[in-house]
Symmetry: C3
Subunit: 152 residues, 3 copies
């Protein structure tokens, strides 16, 4: 039994490696939102804090293009940390390698598409809605799977 468990939470477990890889990609994607917010603030000169105004003749104002990036970032905060937790627990339920890898990959790809169509190149709906729904459905599936697995 020790061996089995050790194999699960280990850099030698191929599924854990996949998890660690996609989580790190998703973190980089989230960090990109901070960079994009700063960039938008600098190009629109729209700042929130008086102490930032010395910068580039900034003004204390909101700009729609900045707010859009912040909404995309908040949506990440709502959807991605819960994925980190739920998918780590999901690995421990010993799912199929192929299926779990597909879930992690589709989550990462569709969340990246969500960011692009929301905050980089705005694309008419339902592009954002559909890309959001994939992440939501995958997280929900794993959470329900976990609840049923650990209820026993």
């Amino acid at each position: 039994m020790a061996q089995v468990v050790t194999d699960i939470l280990s850099v030698n477990n191929p599924l854990f490696r996949v998890y660690a890889f996609y989580c790190s990609i998703l973190v980089l994607k989230m960090m990109f939102m901070s960079v994009l917010t700063s960039y938008k603030r600098m190009t629109t000169k729209a700042f929130e804090n008086p102490e930032d105004l010395a910068f580039l003749n900034g003004k204390l104002r909101t700009d729609e293009s900045v707010e859009r990036v912040r909404r995309a970032h908040l949506n990440d905060l709502e959807g991605i940390p819960i994925f980190f937790v739920v998918s780590l627990i999901y690995i421990l339920t010993n799912p199929s390698y192929f299926f779990a890898t597909t879930l992690f990959r589709v989550f990462t790809i569709t969340r990246t598409i969500h960011t692009i169509v929301y905050a980089v190149v705005v694309i008419p709906q339902p592009a954002r809605g559909i890309s959001w729904f994939f992440g939501f459905a995958i997280t929900g599936y794993m959470a329900l799977h976990n609840v049923s697995y650990f209820l026993r």
Copy 2:
């Protein structure tokens, strides 16, 4: 020693199973906030993004009932991911099964009550304050316990 540690982070450890179960329930509860926000936006026709307006004759405006759900969701983001981390570390300090299970259960129940009295059926204070305080106190207790345990 290997056996002991293996037992801690394992689907065979009853306490880890309890942790995995309540975390997954909490994730589902958080996901419900996204559904509730969408529902409130659709019924009040209050949207944030121009590309969403084609939907149901929506308007670009804020609505207090939508904002209330979003505040409850943000409060979840402030309180629940830190619980996920602190309680996982707490398990590793080898606490009493009964006591830790009680903490996880009370946290989950009071955070659910918090959501209900904040965003579903608004109930006068101190209902929200008290339900919030339970979660805060439990997270704070475990964090302080962890600090003192790992300081040694």
Copy 3:
């Protein structure tokens, strides 16, 4: 092999102990933001919810000193949970104890400085920018390290 992995995710692994310690400190630091928000709301009597107004003759209004604390808190939500995930995965890549400990310590110290100069005693830029950048750079370094490690 079992022994090696067991040593990584274990209270007997000195690096894991350092991780658990700093994560718990960071959670307490984040919890302080909630306390500070409540305190600022009570002293400025600026509340968001009608049901909170009975308190201290509160009013439904925003106050800049409250909003500043909330911005600092949101910045924590953007930067600290991703650190929890990325640094846990980083430990599994078997880094140098000294180097990893330094990263965790510098992250915790600079995020604490960020909170102080943003929300407690406002200090002119670039104090906030620099303290923010340390945390961003450390998280980014570990995320890139993880991606390259688990890509193999």
